[in-house]
Amino acid sequence: MKEWRFWLAEQRGTLMAVAIFVVMFAVYVLNHPAIQSNGFSVTALSNISQTAANKGVLLAFVAMAQTLVVLTAGIDLSVGMTFTLTNCLASWIVVGDPLQTALGVVGVLGVGLLCGAINGAIVIFGRLQPIVTTIATGAIYFGVALLLRPFPGGSVNNDLADLLTGKVFDLFPASLIVLAVVVLLVWVPFSRSVSGRAAYAVGSSEIAAYMSGVPVRRAKFLAYTLSGLLASIGGLFLTFFTYTGEAALASGNTYTLFSIAAVVLGGVSLFGGRGSAIGAIFGAFAFRTIGDLLFVFNLDPLWQPLFQGVVLMIAVSLGAFGLFRVRNRLEWFG
């Protein structure tokens, strides 16, 4: 096999996610009322993408966070609660003059790191199952969020918020640039580092990785910690969009569940060891576009949850086509 075919096989899930998103977004843009009535223009496209990007990046950050843990064959059910907690914290401390704001941002990211590190420590050193651990820590993080914001409120540095959620040169959504920077600063170094490769190895087979002398614990700990960091960036952005902090149980749970959906749409295997955060980002965008599609086709908003559910169900069932390639029935059991 040629080199590019290996690359293609490795990136198949990611490329599928990109393709799904591009098709859905194209349909969305072509049917958008602004384009339908005034014809195609760069301004209209840039406005549509700004709105879509601002909704999409929130889920994209949380989905990236989920990806890191899922790659190690774990699952993080507290990711939505870390997101909510950092949102509440940011509405307190990301205010004031530039220096205070900067310190506030650092504080928020630090709390995110801490949340992730606690998860990692309990999973690795406490040897508890990730699913049980993160259910419990999720409850704790939500409790802390409620302590910080018993009622919705607070504020955020408006200049910074407008800068990061607006458009660069009146053209390109700034939130997408931040997303790209985060990918370049967090995901790319991680996936190319020894720990990153080790995370993939652990996801494929923890015992085999251990036997091969791979730094299993370090890889898992780093994956959980960075996951907390990414979730806190999401929480920070939520504050920039809403200008407030709110500890809503439903919203936290929704983000956790949507992040799993986005990760699967993005071609990341829940059994671990396969997929990439890039795929998860496009999975998140695609998932958000499903909701928007209904809007442009003038369907009753009441049908939106059902439509979203059915699309999700069809998308996850597509994986079943792999069963036709099974030669030995024992392969059913993975």
Binding site: I75, I122, G126, R127, L128, Q129, I131, V132, T133, I135, A136, T137, G138, A139, I140, F142, G143, V144, A145, L146, L147, P150, E206, I207, Y210, V216, L249, A250, N253, L257, I260, A261, V264, L270, F271, L302, W303, Q304, P305, L306, F307, Q308, G309, V310, L312, M313, V316, S317, G319, A320, L323, R329, L330, W332, F333, G334
Partner: protein, 331 residues
């Protein structure tokens, strides 16, 4: 299977009566924590050890107990059911909906609600067993579909149909004086579950699949049918829980099931059932359910704000799992 391994492993107490010897340490710890909670609670309020209060707690626990029974079966085969929230709501709403069609509807309301739960469970089971989709994903999708259906049905508001008389009777009536019917329902369902798990080939197959599905398949078990049935039972029990809840609150509500997903998983694992499947007893789940209900109740008696309740709730789960839920070290 694993149960026998447990019998051998805790050999120390040779003089203990047989039923105590069969208990695994996790269940004992859970029951010890229940006693501890009751003692702590009685320090705060004298009513805490009164019969009325304890029966009231059992009644509240029975809703979680019914739902956790289904969750336990699914966890035993090494899967998980995240569709609980909206299956609970679907059962409640559909039972109330059917009851609005005159006398025949009232008679058929409860079976219809359970039937809807079975259908959703079969959808889960088909995806997991035949399409080999990870249960975490397919049950999430089923949850979304059930939510979508219920939002379309109810128009996004709480539905107008109220719970029928039989539903209210089932949740709040007294067939046996002093013992709420909801508790009787839980006892009946619990006894059936114990019978199913310990006295039938189905139960043995459930433990077998949880330990290693491949081995169970090679031993001639139709694993796919068992897995699908298990999910169907879980759906039925979640819907039953919803019907009881609707009867208790006298109507169904949009997000009534949300509060039951995490507690039901927590109750199952606190009761010593391995989240990886194949190991666990129903007695443990009963202990887990009572433990969680008591904990929530004590925290509200102490007038702890919601934030503190969530934090303590999480800390208790982590703490108890660290006591007895740790995995073996990879070496």
């Amino acid at each position: 299977m694993t149960e026998t391994a447990h019998q051998d492993s805790d050999g120390g107490g040779g003089r203990l009566p047989p039923f105590l010897k069969r208990l695994d340490p996790a269940v004992l710890t859970a029951f010890a924590c229940i006693v501890l909670l009751l003692l702590v609670g009685s320090l705060y309020s004298r009513n805490f050890l009164s019969v009325e209060y304890l029966l009231q707690q059992l009644k509240v626990a029975s809703f979680l107990g019914v739902i956790a029974t289904g969750m336990m079966l699914v966890v035993l085969i090494g899967q998980i059911d995240l569709s609980v929230p909206w299956v609970v709501t679907t059962g409640a709403m559909m039972a109330s909906f059917a009851s609005s069609f005159g006398p025949a509807g009232i008679v058929l309301g409860i079976p219809f609600g359970i039937f809807c739960g079975v259908l959703l469970g079969l959808l889960n089971g088909f995806g997991v067993a035949y399409l080999r989709i990870p249960s975490m994903i397919i049950t999430l999708a089923t949850n979304a579909v059930a939510q979508g259906l219920m939002v379309v049905y109810s128009g996004g508001f709480s539905p107008k149909d109220t719970a029928s008389a039989p539903m209210r009777y089932l949740a709040t009536g007294f067939l046996v004086p002093g013992l709420p019917n909801a508790v009787i329902m839980w006892i009946v369902i619990g006894v059936l579950a114990v019978f199913l798990l310990t006295r039938t080939t189905f139960g043995r197959a459930v433990y077998g699949i949880g330990n290693r599905e491949r081995a169970a398949y090679l031993s001639g078990i139709n694993t796919r049918r068992i897995v699908m049935t298990t999910f169907a039972i879980s759906g039925a029990l979640a819907a039953t829980g919803g019907i009881l809840l609707a009867g208790y609150a006298s109507k169904a509500a949009q997000s009534m099931g949300d509060a039951y997903l995490l507690p039901s998983i927590a109750a199952v694992v606190l009761g010593g059932t391995s989240i990886l499947g194949g190991r666990g007893t129903y007695l443990g789940t009963v202990a887990g359910v009572i433990l969680i209900t008591l904990l929530q109740s004590i925290l509200s008696v102490m007038q702890m704000p919601e934030a503190g309740r969530q934090i303590i709730y999480g800390l208790v789960i982590v703490g108890m799992m660290l006591l007895y839920g740790r995995e073996r070290l990879v070496r």
